[in-house]
Symmetry: C3
Subunit: 390 residues, 3 copies
């Protein structure tokens, strides 16, 4: 024994000691087969699922993206209010530029020549009156259009409502025109420019692919079969790919998602990394719950007339907002995740022996022989059982 | 021995060999109890923390979201510049629509009838002059309002400043009105429509829950206790939930975060998946460091007068920007993460034996007996110590 | 043997049994050294890479951010159309506010006094005509500016094109002015206010650091060497840090990324957590593929003349959009990830023994001795080989 020797010696000896578990080798066709099959299963899973499907040997990075969109197209409307009128991109894209989304006006309710004056409030439970006593000066409520002056005036020949100080005349339509005023919007096209970057791999690419030239770009339109690389989309195609009808959607407006997916295996040639486009309606158009459907907002154009008085044209604009969402993940071989996944695979192999041990020690006919060989016993209770000690 | 046999035989035999570690079983009340308690602790941790709290048996997905917001309400202002004036959503929501945020004007400094002409610069170190020699034609500086013409003119009776070519008259107020001009904004309401999607589980939902009908939606206002499902929020309530005072915040403006959290356990009924709202002030209002507080920006309305000359109304608008942020994670049972977490739990059980081994071999009175039984020795140094070999 | 005793006894005994693998200790300088060196390597990797570099003992959280930007500066232009004209922030920032980005106009093509009327379409393959028969009433195409009236009119003395109903006169320039009209934009400054929050640690900070006071903020400009904490940036500096030339970029516009990185170790003092700024051009300016370069959009200002007829000024605006992206991760000591990483390190130590076992059993001269000691055999085939059984 070395216990008598000095501390230094003991550490030294300890340094050179190598601990390895003692192993019982069972030579059995049954157990061997079960063991090897289970091992094969685990290895197949690790290689198949982790390495091939999930590419566990790759380091990954998520995409940084920059999106710009430019809509083109002309619409013609003919209404009693506005007469024959042409709409171009400067008219129907509101606001003119955004970060990752653009809005195209498809329908509208126009109220011309509003000024700050008094007029009869629209009839509702809170505004119908029979005399001035029913109206309270200064009263206002959320659904109202202005502040009451305290007078009760004729709204129409049969109805009297409280007078309000407001932008008058009030907007009088409640439902948007159907068919939509800018029905021509279905033929508008949008050029979506998207640059992506994977900072970890210093990899840049954009959706105008290298083989696209100016002449192709000036006349192409995206088509999943014939022109899958063209970054110019017809609005009707976008909506129809999402299983929606453009003219129906145009009446009340809505929100469309334009998904651009950049899944790139950077161990492969750079040209294999191309964007995939998908389209989906984002707002809910559940027919059972048509509470507050569609998408609209009000905006105004302000003018001054000859007297310096301010007038405005109020527009309740219905339209489709396109939210461009860029996804994606790039992978490239890296030693750290490879080691991690190989390690995790080896750990799973450890589970195999748990299963096989259980089979060997409970199901096999010779289980007692195996037990005797595998287990040694040392007993703290006295000599209860000492047959297991070799 | 099989070494003399052919290679094929050897591989064949190897295939049927099953390796299992030899185990020493120590029957001891102390060690056994410590061992089982530690195991129970680890199993309780794995089940309690990983499975119940973290729901490790579920595959997870993060939320895709689409947000639209619509503000309603009327404000009345009465100033010497503008007279009695009504403000509606088209006036105070700027820009009229955005992707995930909306801005409500609460206070403003108006400068009417600006034209491109010359006027005296506002007094500052760089602009005060006594004669034309102090002013340099074409000179401009970042804090200035225009390009100097080289002349020194009267700003007021007592002060002379360099003349500038600018939008004149210059904005002359520096501090916003207090109380804020659109104090009424506290009663504005906003309808926030939010549709979410968990693409991995093909699960869609929106914050207008199925049980909400049109009549409820037309008159409800969110209240954490009485109306927690109503998607219409009073601006004052939003600000007060974030422990801020609306009228104070309205003076200089600010940025509010509207957090919508969708944490969904999709193993449970769909109706249990409901949004949770929270509100928080995002810009810093640290009283010690009130450098550049609040939120404001300048915008203009352009007019042409009778002569075709362009004039504008410059507005320095203070207000509250509401950033709607949608969070959330959905989980659903899946076999892959379940296996992973069970595996990780088993690996932790391996640590138990490390601890117990240490206790058995250093702290127990019979440690030398155990050591003798556990360790066998084979020595490369010669016959230094061979007592360990069985 | 205890097998004859009752079931309860057997369970009880099982409870107190502690299973520990039998271990063979090999005392060898070679094997010991290899073993300890490999262990040292793994431990160094775990401590060095996982704990120090990746801070595996910390729980992490990603940043929540709020950004506001305010541009300042004056530009002077002198053109035949507009005359001498001053541009301030209300003129060149479009839209006046946004969530995480701001746009600065640097170049423009102005078309004054457009009205809804008829004029000759711009010459192109689709619009050149020789007589009315070549034009089809109501025809429109994507690249066109209006709806054809069916008449063929003089575009210039030598060219006839189809007449269109459109906003006339049409925009006639195709290339933006070079040098850019708002060349002065390079001296504009922008104050970027950014508040961040790490919700898990209830940690808030903003990029106007505590030591910055009003007087410093009123005159500082960001400089990586002399003023790295100043949140006011000169546009030219931003563009030049991204290795671009401002005046070249200003002609056709572009998209710049302003990256603010907040990597915070919250185990350290709060004051060590400061933002790092980086700038990068996001749109691709690959000289080989200059298809659709730059960034521009059209917008209009609407006027009403004395007769109530609507006219507009169409502006094709080229400019630089600055996308502010806030990144970052905060870490703070937490016991759960610490345990996880220690566990993973121990699992890697298991791999060491696999390597050493292989060396011991195949490369060492005494490998047969070791094999004899390590392996015991039990044979299911009969008495094929029983020499391994002790």
């Amino acid at each position: 024994m070395t216990h008598e020797k000095g501390c230094c010696d003991s550490i030294c000896q300890c340094f050179f000691e190598y601990f390895t578990p003692k192993v019982l080798v069972i030579r059995s066709k049954k157990v061997g087969t079960i063991n090897r099959l289970t091992q094969a299963l685990v290895i197949a899973y690790v290689i198949g699922y982790v390495c091939v499907l999930k590419k566990g040997y790759q380091d990954t990075d998520t995409v940084l993206s920059s999106v710009t969109a430019k809509v083109k197209g002309i619409a013609l409307t003919n209404t009693s209010d506005l007469g024959l009128r042409i709409w171009d991109a400067a008219d129907y894209v509101i606001p003119p530029q955004g970060e990752n989304s653009f809005f195209v006006l498809t329908n509208l309710i126009v109220t011309l020549n509003q000024t700050q004056t008094t007029c009869a409030e629209k009839p509702s439970q809170a505004s119908i009156c029979s005399s001035d006593k029913d109206c309270k000066k200064g009263f206002r409520y959320t659904q109202g259009n202005g502040v009451q002056t305290g007078r009760c005036v004729n709204f129409s020949e049969s109805v009297k409502t409280c007078e309000v100080l407001a932008w008058c005349p009030l907007e009088n339509a409640t439902e948007p025109p159907n068919p939509p005023m800018l029905a021509d919007a279905e033929n508008f096209t949008v050029l979506i420019k998207n640059s992506v970057r994977y900072p970890k791999f210093n990899f840049n690419k954009r959706n105008i692919l290298p083989h696209i030239n100016s002449s192709y770009l000036s006349q192409c339109v995206f088509n999943r079969k014939t022109d899958p690389d063209c970054p110019i989309f017809r609005l009707k195609d976008i909506v129809e790919e999402a299983q929606e009808d453009f003219q129906t959607m145009a009446v009340h407006g809505g929100v469309m998602g334009v998904h651009i997916r950049w899944d790139c295996d950077l161990d492969m040639p750079k040209s294999w990394c191309v964007p995939k486009y998908a389209f989906r309606r984002l707002d809910n158009k559940d027919p059972d719950h048509n509470v507050a459907p569609g998408y609209n907002f009000r905006f105004a154009k302000y003018y001054k007339n000859g007297d310096g008085e301010e007038t405005r044209t109020l527009i309740k604009g219905y339209g489709i907002r396109f939210d461009v969402m860029v996804f994606g993940q790039a992978g490239k071989f890296n030693i750290v995740p490879t080691l991690l996944n190989v390690g995790a695979g080896l750990a799973l192999l450890g589970l195999v022996s748990v299963v096989c041990d259980w089979i060997v020690l409970t199901c096999m006919t010779k289980r007692n022989l195996y037990k005797e060989q595998k287990y040694s016993y040392v007993d703290d209770f006295g000599l209860l059982s000492d047959d297991g000690i070799p």
